[in-house]
């Protein structure tokens, strides 16, 4: 990258700590509030849509629980209001009694209100009407949140599925291409052995193969360095193995080719790029930690990179 005064501390953190070097740590900031705790988002104090944002942050189970709890609480309030201040519920011109059956009726009314069904067989009296309307509004809002949660959950599953499939397709493509590259290198090499040099047409073919190889090498490189998705080890292993055999045949090919004879600048550029890319793949220099077999393949790639060109 153009840095002229780069130096490597090969021992790294392991060596540093082992020999008792001073270590600095970053204290983790106060843990962010976990959703599902009794913490309100700051906006909920100032705006009323904040309350909706808060609800949207809840899990589906919590939302449903809250919704059911709210309905039961309202039902109990209707019932108690009937006993205490005489503003109770009325079912068919008869006041709902303050007994267990009455409690059932009150909760039933609460459900009918919260779902905004409103059969009208039980009606609230006096100030309870305001409470019932309020419950209707709150019930609808929360129920809406529940529904949207359900829909978005399914959507997330779908998106994840799509990501996974495209990712696997991409890996498949890389694998196939690497295989083609390998057989192409073999064919070119055979021609070279037979004819001693490469006729223009074959050279062009080699150029294009090298270009494809470079592209796929870049893909694998990106996969190792910055991919969010990690392929399973088996897939990665076969990818790396393909890379190794391609590089091997490329090394053989370029070894038997007269060096820098200027027959193709594009080819030389391509080889240089491949060598640089492959050099950055080795067991210890990729950011993640892989199984020893994978690391070995990566080291092999790193080693072969030095022999190209």
């Amino acid at each position: 990258m153009g840095y002229r005064n780069l130096r490597y501390y090969i021992g790294g953190m392991a060596d540093w700590i082992e020999n008792g070097g001073p270590v600095e740590k970053v204290e983790p900031a106060a843990a962010p509030p976990r959703s599902g705790q009794n913490i309100q988002s700051p906006i909920s104090h100032t705006s009323w849509t904040g309350f909706l944002d808060l609800l949207a942050g809840w899990s589906l189970e919590r939302l449903v629980g809250f919704w059911l709890g709210m309905i039961v609480v309202f039902g109990v309030v209707y019932w108690v209001a009937g006993i205490g201040i005489g503003w109770g519920l009325q079912a068919g011109n008869v006041a709902v009694k303050p007994d267990l059956e009455g409690l059932g009726t009150a909760i039933y009314f609460s459900f009918v209100t919260a779902l905004s069904i409103g059969y009208g067989d039980v009606i609230p009296l006096g100030a309870l009407r305001i409470l019932a309307v309020a419950e209707g509004v709150a019930g609808l809002l929360i129920f809406g949140c529940v529904i949207s949660k359900l829909v978005s959950r399914r959507q997330e599953e779908l998106t994840a599925e799509i990501h996974r499939t495209t990712f696997e397709d991409r890996l498949d493509r890389v694998r196939t291409n690497l295989h083609l590259v390998f057989s192409d290198f073999g064919a070119v090499q055979q021609l070279q052995v037979e004819q001693g040099s490469l006729p223009g047409q074959v050279l062009r073919r080699l150029e294009s193969t090298v270009r494809v190889f470079r592209g796929e090498l870049q893909t694998v490189h990106d996969l190792l360095y910055r991919s969010q998705a990690v392929p399973d080890e088996e897939a990665l292993e076969s990818l790396l193995a393909n890379l190794v055999i391609c590089l091997q045949s490329l090394v053989e090919l370029s070894g038997s080719r007269p060096k820098n004879n200027g027959e193709s600048a594009a080819l030389d550029n391509g080889l240089r790029a491949i060598s640089n890319l492959a050099r950055e793949i080795c067991g210890e220099c990729v950011p993640r930690n892989y199984a020893p077999a994978l690391k070995e393949s990566m080291d092999q790639i790193h080693e072969l990179a030095g022999k190209i060109g």
Binding site: Y3, R4, N5, R7, Y8, Y9, M13, V23, E24, P287
Partner: protein, 81 residues
């Protein structure tokens, strides 16, 4: 071990810095320490005065974090664990 030793050879442009030199120059502003491990690993412990530039971000952030190409930079990662 053969691997880690062969690395600087094949990268013929790269030079190595020893632990003792880093220790001796811990307070030398001319030497910039760059930790290329992921952020979480960096936060869990690093050589004092290091800056964090995860490998995955080098391409996009290196020029911004390390604008001076002549600056003496010591790069390290986890090492052989």
């Amino acid at each position: 071990m053969a691997r880690t030793e062969s690395k600087p050879d094949s990268h013929h442009a790269y030079r190595v810095i020893s632990r003792d030199e880093i220790l001796a120059r811990l307070h030398d502003p001319a030497l910039l320490l760059v930790n290329v491990m992921p952020k979480e690993t960096f936060e869990a412990g690093h050589i004092p005065r290091s800056i964090n530039l995860p490998v995955a971000e080098i391409e996009e952030r290196a020029r911004q974090v390390l604008p001076d190409v002549t600056q003496e930079i010591a790069v390290y990662c986890a090492g052989s664990t």
